[in-house]
Symmetry: C2
Subunit: 189 residues, 2 copies
């Protein structure tokens, strides 16, 4: 195995920063219905207050919905939700009622008016605080108002990776899940 | 196994959005030396132009350095770099010359004046375009000027997960790596 050789790739080949978690993002439609999309460009950005950022294509339906009604849930999902994520990510909610088509059930939220997805590993209830255009996308800077996790999957150390098969997106149709646990510094912390 | 029960967690428990890739971020010090830190709050945010966002504690040394010299490399690393990442992430470069202490070797960049880390799986050469405060952190919105990958680890489909053991951070000392490959939609894309 060569470890010396590098080759240049296109600067816009974002897969180099994958795999990363793929989430289901739920937003409210103007008619009161719900839309769901798949998103991997989502991350925590601060703790005080708890904030997350989502980068969405500025022409996406969810981007349009969030600009009207700034409430959303971010749903952490697992291997068993693979086809649901693919279904949510490969068609636009402008043409299809994905929520119904995918057979999703709402998990009522505690603080906001948009529900989570029943069965998701974890649900963050978020409110958009600010938007910022970057290239063809929009950063939605959101405050996390409440968070819930499946009690069978989350411990005081975070996700129990023996049970929580967090879905990670590689590129196009390819996904993966976490493998073995590694502990740095020579001991469990 | 119960799948019905949820419990509330603190809204600032960011581990719910982990595991996600842990990177080595290299920046230039005023004395010409190099500093390295570990960061997991990094993601692509657009393709046209190729942009990434890093969220760093506003009081971190790297945050200070990037505010002075806006060039950095983002280095994708793997399981074999676990202790390097832990070493880079658990002390401040204000008190220790981490670059020397960790025995890092520079991989000269093509476009910017800050090198990558030799042996890293992939290196993105970035320039800070804008900063934005969010909570206790600062978002560094960067353009990707060039990207390289180890030719033994990257295919036309992205990372070869049989060989590229991309390091993912769970929380504190806990890390993981990608496990099996999953393909959505019933066939390879």
């Amino acid at each position: 195995m060569s470890t010396g050789g590098y080759r240049e790739i296109d600067a816009d080949d974002y897969r180099v920063l994958h795999p990363r978690p793929a989430y289901l993002v739920v937003a409210r439609k103007p008619d009161g219905g719900l839309n769901v999309m798949a998103a991997a460009w989502v991350m925590p950005v601060s703790e005080e207050p708890p904030m997350v950022v989502l980068s969405l294509d500025s022409e996406s339906y969810t981007s349009e919905l969030l600009s009207e009604n700034g409430e959303l849930t971010i749903n952490v999902v697992g291997e068993e939700h693979l086809e649901m994520v693919w279904g949510a990510g490969s068609v636009s909610g402008r043409s299809v009622d994905k929520w119904s088509k995918l057979g999703l059930k709402p998990l009522p939220s505690k603080v906001i008016g948009v529900p989570g997805v029943k069965g998701a590993y974890g649900v963050l209830e978020c409110v958009v605080k600010e938007k910022k255009s970057v290239g063809e996308c929009v950063l939605f800077i959101c405050e996390v108002k409440a968070a819930r996790v499946r009690e069978d999957l989350y411990t005081r150390y975070g996700w129990d990776l023996r049970k929580a098969r967090i879905l990670l997106h590689c590129g196009r149709r390819a996904f993966t899940v976490p493998g073995k646990l590694l502990v740095a510094g020579g001991k469990r912390g």
